[in-house]
Symmetry: C2
Subunit: 202 residues, 2 copies
């Protein structure tokens, strides 16, 4: 008898598809409730099929991280295309970051969850590397601003980059915890001018 089977896809395509499905599920219900079975179901596969494309749940999560990394990277690139002015780049990046978070709670949930912690230090290190990479780009923008004279030269760009993250991060968490009640956009709009003034060269 001929069994009806879902279309076969090449592993690379499936991997991407599965990673995005996983991220969507995480956004909706959190990492804790993410099961291999649910990811499979979401793309119309049977649980065991996952193992044709990933060695296990860990590798699937690695792929999810990769998706996030790419997205952050793309944000920086897009912003750099829009303007050459460092301060404007920071502002645009901030807004882009907020948008990213609002559109995809999954990011926060993935990055700050212990669920990722395997026991192996690998995973945590990977996330750290990913965030560090993002911060390094931000620090790069800051350094440009210092060179061009628009940003105070007496502050460490790395410090500024972490503070920059601090404009969004706690707000994102409050937003998430309050189920949308805390207005993250409003906060960022009010906090940015204060931050900008603090780093602007006089």
């Amino acid at each position: 008898m001929k069994k009806l089977q879902i279309e076969k896809l090449q592993s690379e395509v499936r991997q991407e598809q599965l990673a995005r499905a996983a991220l969507a599920l995480i956004a909706a219900d959190g990492l804790k409730k993410l099961s291999v079975a649910r990811v499979a179901q979401r793309v119309g596969l049977v649980p065991s099929a996952i193992y044709r494309h990933f060695a296990g749940k860990n590798e699937l999560l690695d792929a999810v991280l990769e998706v996030i990394r790419e997205q952050l990277h793309a944000n920086v690139a897009a912003v750099s295309d829009q303007t050459r002015d460092p301060m404007e780049r920071l502002e645009l990046l901030l807004m882009a970051h907020v948008r990213l978070i609002r559109e995809n709670q999954g990011f926060q949930r993935v990055i700050f969850s212990d669920e990722l912690d395997n026991g192996l230090p690998d995973r945590k290190v990977r996330v750290y590397t990913m965030i560090s990479g993002y911060l390094k780009r931000v620090a790069g923008i800051v350094a440009e601003g210092q060179l061009s004279g628009s940003i105070r030269k007496d502050i460490d760009p790395d410090t500024v980059s972490v503070m920059f993250l601090g404009l969004i991060q706690p707000a994102a968490i409050l937003w998430h915890m309050s189920a949308g009640k805390f207005d993250i956009t409003r906060h960022v709009n009010k906090a940015w001018p204060v931050f900008r003034a603090a780093i602007t060269a006089q």
Copy 2:
């Protein structure tokens, strides 16, 4: 035959003891790996004994949250005892917060974990309320500073309080992820002067 049994303790004492044991385990290995069995073992009890003191794991986690809330509360109170100057209070609180985090990674791990998420919105709301309460106290200090003229009056105290949290929060996460490699104290020491200048009335 007479079985050797651990000393019996009143439920209230045990509850506190168990909550602290749980927090210690979370700090060490993360919320994901926290099992009722391990908590019991840590205080020399058998797993099922937990249920004499808590209705279930959820209630145990509630008790852990309570411990954290009390600690944050105590921090604000201690700082307010040390000085009456608002700006000094903020600085002391910042340092106290850093110390708290350094001494107890568990705090971060508990608060930002999806593990807490039951499905019931209860838990998330509770954590949100807890953090909001902390932020309200910070905002209160800021408002005092505005009254006494040391802090700019054109910034919303609530915004400042979230930014204040932003001085520590991302740093704490980086510190945690980097297994101590990222120097949170150094960051805060460099970021604080920038932040202080940003909110100081001129």
